[in-house]
Amino acid sequence: MAQKYELKQREVWDGNLAAAHALRQAQVDVVAAYPITPSTPIVQNYAQFLADGYVDGEFVMVESEHSAMSACVGAAAAGGRVATATSSQGYALMVEVLYQASGMRLPIVMTVVNRALASPLNIHGDHSDLYLGRDAGWIHLIANNPQEAYDLTLCAFRIGEDERVRLPVTTNQDGFLVSHTAQVVEPLSDEEAYKFVGDYKPKYPMLDTKNPVTYGAQTEEEWHFEHKVNQHKALMESFPVIEEVFSEFEKLTGRKYNLVETYKLDDADIALVLMGSAFETAMLAVDKAREEGIKVGLLMPRVFRPFPYNEIAKKLKNVKAVAALDRSAPMGTTGALFNEVSAALMANGQSAIMTNYIYGLGGRDTTVEHILEVIKETNENKKANKRVTPLQGFINLRGPKLSFN
């Protein structure tokens, strides 16, 4: 039996420690992981919990992220609760196996600390790794601060393991800005947290050797489409389950999460769409802009996959101009949030003026002032009733102004 961990009502935890405590409280059976900045402290904290007797499960320190996810898949198929953590290059090395995990419908939870992808090498936060994994068939939840990193990691187990879902889930937090920033976190007690997460419900466990099963069969053109569509369907139909879990979490903690988060959007003329810690920074920019009479609001998909496109369109129904802010190098096109929000509006017969901003690559600072600038530019589009600013701009980029149309 694991030792009881004494927790205060208010802890000062950074995002990494918060995620590690959530893994501990979920009583994960197997954690297989490989350290990489900035998610290393999750792995280290977990190792310390184990060393101090706070964890009962197995902790496998593998020789690479590829093997980390492979061991997670093997362990999950064997029939128990499994989690890991990674960032950036480690995430990239895992990608092959991410697809295997989701294809086998294994509810692995991965606490991702988002970081840029090389080259050039950079250890700081952006969403390149998250975007890399967006088609991998996982549910992706976005946390903006350590409290959310903790809360959403607990929710991730419930969502992924739900009979109606059975999919792997990542919880994402910005490298350093959340992962290494200590803030006040109000944790649940170990008992409450485990009760919320619940016992693991096995489905086709390999270790039930009285009912042997084959995982990872080959499907060719006669079968592959049908299986992939099923997997897609599970993602598309996971929205109500996610909402249900969020609502139960609210009952327990008073903290409310939504598929789509908004800030002062109800009466807004224009909106910014962005994810991650910058969403909170942008709230301060919105307050300032409103003082100047600009009716602006914010929107963030709390759930990046499945992408709540109709919900987003509904929430943006009354705005005239939208700026989508992507924290990933777009590499030859417009940013993913821009593309998906534009498509969501278009598909619902809405025609807000859309612009795209790239920001925060490799941890580049994005301040309230920077975002205020974007709000003002977006407001110009609204006033002109057509796009008068560039299609794609870059925030806090040194040098002559760069833009694409």
Binding site: G103, M104, R105, R166, K203, Y204, K210, N211, P212, V213, T214, Y215, G216, A217, T219, E220, E222, W223, F225, E226, H227, V229, N230, Q231
Partner: protein, 132 residues
Amino acid sequence: MATPKEMLTTWDKVQFAAILPAFEDLEHKKRSKFHSYNYSVADWRVEKPVFNRELCIDCDFCWVSCPDSCFMVEEVVNKRGKKQAKIVGINYNLCKGCGVCVDVCPTPIKSLLMFPEYVDTEEALKQWPKKD
């Protein structure tokens, strides 16, 4: 390799996560319809091995070296009271006609021989080489 018609089904009826249970009932060794044991590779054959029980000494070389688990055995008890395997036949659904069993058969006149696929077993046994 085409899937047999009776197995081909629609997206809403495929196996969850393409996971295949081996057994319907493990205790009674009833393999599920997803087991390749219930699939036939008979049409791969050009020649087939024919088994001559009368010449067989139950060395079980064919059993151990068959790549397709074709040799059906029955557990019997020998004179010394020990259990041993008696070869009782070939599962022609699983046999691809590789000929390994004939190659390894050690009896002076082989108890396994290859015959063209169209020769039936009775006819093959009639054609068996005789002792001098």
